[in-house]
Symmetry: C2
Subunit: 373 residues, 2 copies
């Protein structure tokens, strides 16, 4: 087994999430936290019930404050280096649920500056254009335009920079090197950048003039970014940013690492993929937990725990009963690998068909969501 | 003699300007360059004739292009860490003359971000407030509001950041350390900052959509800042920034270093000082080239070359004949140190009286000059 490596730029190996919680110093989402959430949201989102969101920082404080009448704000974002893929959508789908369940503001930062700075071949025009392409995927998810604020960094820098400066003043190059792995060869734009990213943690407080704690739903590899924000928050008089972490949507190719475009596009499913492409990708690349022969499969059954079609369904099939039946049928050998793939293909295509319709409509709605200087 | 040290943050020791030209790799302003200037400006400014502006980078190219019909733009600026003092005014007075003589645009950058980042005790509110205080001194000098663009960095960052990013992408932390003396303890805001400062070199091109070369009049200690801009200019398709350097207005206390507020305020003359204060400061602190006794002074004469009152007059007395007479009279012993001080006091107070009147009027005019996002 390849040793796991989890940083904001790289996820490789088979990730043990309990170990990650220890390494990162976060907390496990306990049954008592789930109970607290349920008190306000009535139902639990399936991503909480299934442990897709599994770790947190100060979520207990967020919930306590909420029950005392103090609203939080949701903050997450996107680095626009290409089209949105399904792995990006996981925390966003959850954000939409959070916004509805808690009736809170949602801030979505699109880091066209950072992607320009760290990707050799991308121009600023490209990352800025991609920013607004990616924003369509947020709008398509049905967020409330009155409570949702989307911005591309380079079009909102007047505001962000003012908040980033007092953060930057308190972070040395040494600290940035230690937390983000910068070297002397890293460009000076990247050096400032963690302060820009941290600035949005405090943006809701700045814009409202109240002390609003932000809650960041994101894959756990992004956690280091927020450490700096949490460190400086008390010094600047802001509440410490809280976080809720999801596990990675695995690569279709197998349980190692996460789905990402850096591994090449062929096994990555984008929100803009058509039905045929999705079908082709899943049929060709989805790692199977099935047996070598039909006979053996019928007799001994498949292994859903390593079957990527099944694993993906745990992210996208909301219905617990349906999911359970698929699990049982696959394990018993009743359901064949091809049939399981077909279920996933249908699920993904149904989701994407609706999403793509919404995405078209989003082009008109987008301006309502955009924060600009 | 204390060894000279000249960096953007510190000027100490007795500066040898010929050595500086060699060390910095700039060029001396030659008679032939003065001739080229005169072709367009008719008269030469006394700061050029007296060698107060003594060094340059690519000024010959600027003049050649100008004679071919290509206009340049003037760029200089101010770090708002306190009130404006007379040392700051030297390049600005020259900029006003340049604008009139060549009928060109003038960009004035006020770096409230940098002063906040590098001065431990200053808040961003303070440096931003000081920025607009300092801007009054520019407006008071009579610049053309149609051709003069003043901005405080933090109020114009949306524009500046977009230009700074491609610069920042091409500068590593190593380079910033080497050129600016940053260390691992320097904050990450300062690391980006040279790219912000360099951005304004290209701002006239960006705003006009033409390739406009910038010419930076500034004291020579600021030269390192522009090296990065000059390095990256061709890579980004902009003309290389040119520069024209002035010698330092010396401290009243003597020929070592430059007048600055970091040496303490007691010998620094601010544009807001009243007549009595100016009189007191010059009488108390102006280093004298006179003899120990009246008798000896009358007999042997004073030394204007080390007398700070005389040296200051070379910066502020426009009339060559008057200046020559003062020099001769002091050298011969006809003019006493107290009398020489009185001449400087009168000169400075006459200048400041008018300047302060203009500065009051500038409060109304200021908005016409300000660039904001």
């Amino acid at each position: 087994m390849e040793e796991a490596k989890v940083t904001p730029w790289e996820v490789t190996g088979e990730v043990d999430y309990d170990t990650l919680i220890k390494e990162f110093g976060t907390s496990k989402i306990t049954p008592s936290i789930l109970e607290s959430i349920k008190k306000h949201s009535k139902k639990l989102h399936y991503m909480l019930e299934r442990g897709i969101f599994f770790s947190h920082r100060d979520l207990d404080i967020v919930l306590k404050e909420y029950s005392e009448g103090k609203k939080f704000a949701i903050y997450t974002g996107r680095g626009p280096s290409g089209d949105t893929h399904l792995g990006h959508m996981i925390p966003w789908i959850f954000c939409k649920w959070l916004q509805d369940a808690f009736n809170v503001d949602f801030y979505f930062m699109i880091t066209d500056d950072e992607k320009f700075l760290c990707k050799k071949d991308l121009t600023l025009e490209q990352t800025n254009k991609l920013a607004y392409e990616n924003a369509l995927d947020i709008v398509a998810l049905g967020f409330d335009p009155k409570k949702t604020f989307i911005f591309a960094d380079t079009d909102y820098m007047n505001q962000l920079y003012k908040i980033a400066l007092p953060i930057a003043k308190r972070v040395t190059a040494s600290q940035a090197k230690a937390v983000f792995g910068f070297t002397n060869n890293t460009n000076i734009g990247m050096y400032l950048w963690p302060a820009i990213q941290a600035a949005t943690c405090f943006l809701p407080s700045v814009l409202t003039g109240k002390k609003i704690r932000t809650l960041i739903p994101a894959a756990i590899d992004q956690d280091p970014y927020w450490r700096i924000a949490r460190d400086v928050a008390p010094k600047l008089g802001f509440p410490k940013t809280a976080a809720i972490h999801n596990i990675f949507l695995p690569s279709l190719k197998g349980p190692q690492g996460k789905m990402s475009t850096s591994e090449g596009n062929e096994a990555t499913i984008f929100t803009t993929d058509d039905e045929k492409t999705v079908k082709k990708k899943i049929n060709k690349y989805a790692f199977s937990g099935g047996r070598d022969t039909l006979e053996e499969h019928r007799k001994k059954g498949g292994n859903p725990d390593i079957d990527m079609s099944y694993q993906w369904l745990t992210f996208f099939e909301e219905d617990d009963k349906k999911l359970k039946k698929i699990y049982d049928d696959y394990k018993s050998g009743k359901l064949l690998s091809g049939e399981l793939k077909a279920i996933l293909i249908k699920k993904v295509n149904t989701f994407l068909k609706q999403h793509q319709k919404n995405r078209e409509k989003a082009k008109k709605l987008l301006p309502k969501f955009i924060l600009k200087d």
